[in-house]
Amino acid sequence: MESSDAVSIEDTKVITNDFCILKDTDTVAEALALITVQNASEIVIVDEDKKFAGILTDLSILRSLPPPVLDVPVKFRIKTPKFRQQLNEELANSLRKQITEVFKLEKIKPYTSKNQRLIYAMDKLVDSYKSTSAIRVLPIINEDETVYGVVSPESILSYLKSNQKFCQLKAERFLALPEVDSMEQPYTLLPSDTLAQARFAMKYLPIKHITICDSDGHLLGMIDKKQVTTLTHPMYFSLMGISLSKIMKPVTKLCLVEKSQTLQECINAYLNLGFKEVVIVEQLLGKIYPKMVVTPIDILQFRVQVYRQN
């Protein structure tokens, strides 16, 4: 057992005040500004007494709005003035609404004790991420229910990066984890497969990333749930037929970590390069084969398991 993970979350300084917060009476426009300008994944929502009211995710906001025009391939953009006007009106109308009018806030159970051990907080964070609609932060509240701060995967990783023993573990260790069952192996589609197929897979399976490979399994790109959610809107239903090659992030824009490299590489990619996921790959004869998509949450899950094994 490593004592570093048994210290309290307060002592490890993983609780951060660097998070986005809005009142439940604020508008959808304000929430949208935070997720686009600040690239926030979650917004903490408080009521008029500043008490914790819930969490709003970027996916909920994006799901309620039409996609930004620049994200839509030119051929599929709405060109008819009548429909453009309809879209503009709908957008303006949605943006003016109060957050509580539009969204059912995720009822994540906030965390009250700053004295709980870090390992316990990590476990809670992973659990809550897997059992809710992908909330990646753990809100910490005061006794009067106001928000003290949040624990994010990145803040924990900043703490964990000093643990050399852990960071020097090979990335391929992920592939041998008992929890990494068939559901969490990379879900792969062909570049000619469609947005409808990607949407379907992400709705019915616990996957947030789809690797796009050719018929021999060579990695060509990736698409994530945020992209799929952004492009899914009734006024752009024709996009359902678009091939994934037109919307995927190409392999050159992905962070690839060879399976023999260390976790340090993954952590650096999240903390220093701003990636939200890395693809663990195996390279053979100049071809790249995806093995797993790893997010900061996966690193925390791995950390919890290593802790338990010891």
Binding site: S133, M183, A196, R199
Partner: protein, 342 residues
């Protein structure tokens, strides 16, 4: 114009059918992932499947093969990922089966799915723009059909309307009819409470389950009866706490998840009582219709729990259930008492 004239032609009472409104439809060769996306994104519960005369045309002109409902679709598919109750995790084997099933099913054509192909062999209830009357709309939306040679009944909540030369010009759904009923011309009917209009089914005539009853029991009851909703009460039966319908029950009982969820207590999946799925016996009929078709929401319940708030406990005592067909029958009776009596 008023929908209370049962002999009027539908092109007079539903002029929107003449306005070339877009129809959400698919071909038998379209795929399951498209059907699923269409139902979700447009928040619709029925999709007409049309074999077009000209396969290259986007015009819905051709043979209506069937109308696939959300219930038909959820029977085929596994539950959406976000609905799995974390208290009842799947086994690794089930997870593996789930992945394989979803990988295979998403790109299958609708006419390759056995259940859908069977539906396409059953004659579909349709209306004709030039010949059908308002009374046909009511009849077809109220009466479930037992297809010849089949052991199930099928309820149509959306009817496709044929115009000339096999062009399907639109649909009439129960929500369209409810909105037409909620018209100032029918004030007398609308101002009466549902208790006065004797519209809802009383609790003593209903099948009720408790929160601790399981999913399999709910499915068996729904399968053996023509109703689609079951109110859920506390274990002692004193208070009503929620409702389950055919969509939510069938969502969880896929072959892969059957062993896991057949014993799942209904409290884990029921829709809890709230102002969007309940009314009281004293609620006026117009307000009840607004609860069925709320103006600012895409919620479209097909039945509402009738209940009374207990002032001491804040809980709800159960009075009965009201479906859109109850409103339709009541309206027909009000609009044409002689016909109803005969």
């Amino acid at each position: 114009m008023s929908i209370n004239n049962m002999e009027a032609r539908i092109d007079q009472e539903f002029p929107e059918l003449l306005q070339n409104r877009p129809l959400r439809w698919l071909k038998p060769t379209d795929t399951v992932d498209y059907l699923d996306a269409m139902i979700d994104e447009f928040k619709i519960r029925h999709v007409p499947i049309i074999e077009p005369i000209d396969p290259k045309s986007d015009e819905p002109r051709g043979e209506l093969k069937t109308v696939i409902s959300k219930t038909d679709l959820v029977k085929l598919l596994t539950p959406p990922n976000e609905l799995y109750p974390p208290e009842f995790p799947l086994t690794p084997q089930q997870k593996s089966q789930l992945r394989k099933f979803n990988e295979e099913i998403s790109a299958k054509c609708l006419n390759e799915i056995e259940d859908f192909a069977q539906l396409m062999t059953i004659p579909v209830k349709t209306l004709s723009l030039n010949n059908s009357k308002v009374k046909d709309v009511f009849k077809d939306l109220i009466d479930p059909v037992k297809p010849e040679g089949q052991n199930f009944t099928r309820r149509y909540r959306t009817l496709c309307v044929y115009g000339d030369n096999q062009l399907i010009v639109g649909t009439i759904s129960y929500t369209d009819v409810l909105r037409k009923i909620n018209d100032p011309n029918h004030t007398q009917f609308l101002r009466a409470t549902i208790g006065q209009n004797i519209l809802f089914k009383k609790r003593e005539d209903l099948t009720v389950l408790t929160e601790d009853d399981n999913l399999l029991r709910a499915r068996r009851i729904l399968k053996e009866n023509s109703f689609t909703h079951i109110p859920i009460t506390t274990a002692d039966g004193r208070f009503v706490t929620g409702i389950v319908d055919d969509v939510i029950v069938n969502t969880f009982l896929h072959d892969i998840t059957l062993t896991q969820y057949s014993k799942l207590p209904l409290k884990y999946i029921m829709l809890p009582m709230n102002e969007r799925n309940s009314v009281s016996p004293g609620t006026v009929t117009s307000k009840v219709i607004e609860t069925f078709v709320p103006p600012n929401s895409k919620d479209r319940p097909t039945a509402l729990v009738v209940c009374t708030k207990d002032s001491d406990s804040g809980k709800f005592t159960f009075d009965g259930i009201i479906s859109y067909t109850d409103i339709f029958r009541g309206f027909q009776k009000w609009a044409n008492p002689q016909s109803a009596n005969s």
